[in-house]
Symmetry: D2
Subunit: 137 residues, 4 copies
């Protein structure tokens, strides 16, 4: 792991995100993770929406998610994200979700991404180096 | 792989499932996969909603998804699901999504599930054996 | 009401569409209604996604929805849609959702739409007359 | 209008909430409105999730939404809510969404709600009077 602190985003569970089990629906965690990744990109100077308009498509090529403990209505939580470069055109986010009170691990995820043209060809967006803390951990 | 054919469910992309890239949002594929799993359970006599009411919580403990090719507005596709038992209380769905026209692989996924009480204790629901085609492939 | 039969689309409630009350979440009904409207447009030769690419934005300007009876996990239902022109650039969908078994009215809605350029100026898409059954009822 | 200030909740548009038009999908605004209503209830001592567990179902019986101007990726906005009692068992939220920068009205909504038992019978939850600022405006 890098010694650089992870980028963190605070959230709160909204009731419409819970399903009939009374817990956050599995798919919704992917939305949380995506939002945290896009904010990560933003604070490094990359807007997902602007990249898309410019014809650069950041896409997820693989998601591995380990669900440890569910989130419930109204709970506050934090998504932390680190980014590592795997190859010149592939990079992986290491992400974790922790519930705030009581403090507990909700999930861990590795989300592998690539940048592509609309036609699906690999692209290296200009200035991409600014995204990374260091080599893959 | 089992010789028994996979359980398949036909779908069609709805426009609200597409995001600003014009393709189905990553999290939405997990919704498709979940719906296909719940229909798999149903045709074997298990209702997810009824199990939940009875205090048996089927939960996803790990998701591995490989995204191969995105789905777009209006495309028809099929989700196929197979189920294998990993341990007495864990089981894994092997799922694939194929676009219908033109025929292409959209994603493959392995979704590992467990049955738990609301308190988080492992449970083996009565008649669970009826769910499985055979041993883990 | 026009004597022309309404355009109908069959659906089935998916578990992830239900919230912690065990019924379909209010916002999800708007997704059903939207999908039915887009299929209405499609069978008249208008693709929402193609229109958007061409710079023509169909937008909802007003929604009135009366919720009569909730939908639950697994229920089959039908969305029926009629379209009437209000002014040269405004049109209104009259939509209803009926649960199939037992047959009951789930909701009625009037959704007023307009066509706009990306800059927000009213547009009359070519061939728009093909959309309508007749005058506003 | 009551002289009492409205209850406000700050939000930020998440990319997954935008559809292929590049703007927040119509149904998502209802999710924002619902979340703001549930926080309104919470600060008055009512938890939507707790009420549901106790067999008291707060349901929307009518929604009227006027869409004035769409929200886009990353925009910050505020949902303001006021609540008025219409009859002993019906109450209406007056809600507005304003984008923060540039300041503009995004939508206005009137959401009429009722409290019911799971069987659909009207209920007056104990202490309900604490919810209201005053008479219907």
């Amino acid at each position: 792991m890098s010694a650089i602190p992870a980028f963190t985003v605070p959230f709160e569970v909204r009731d419409y995100e819970c399903d009939l089990q009374g817990i956050v629906n599995n798919a919704v965690y992917q939305q949380y993770l995506e939002h945290a990744r896009h904010l990560y990109l933003k604070q490094r100077g990359f807007s997902f929406a602007e990249l898309t308009k410019a014809g650069i498509y950041l896409v997820v090529v693989r998601a591995e998610i380990d669900y440890k403990s569910p989130l419930r209505s109204g709970e506050a939580f934090v998504v932390s994200s680190r980014l590592a470069r795997l190859t010149p055109v592939r990079f992986a986010f290491q992400q974790e979700i922790h519930c705030t009170v009581p403090r507990r691990l909700v999930l861990t995820a590795t989300i592998t991404c690539a940048a592509m043209s609309q036609a699906g060809k690999p692209i290296i967006p200009k200035g991409l180096d600014a995204l990374f803390d260091g080599p893959a951990s």
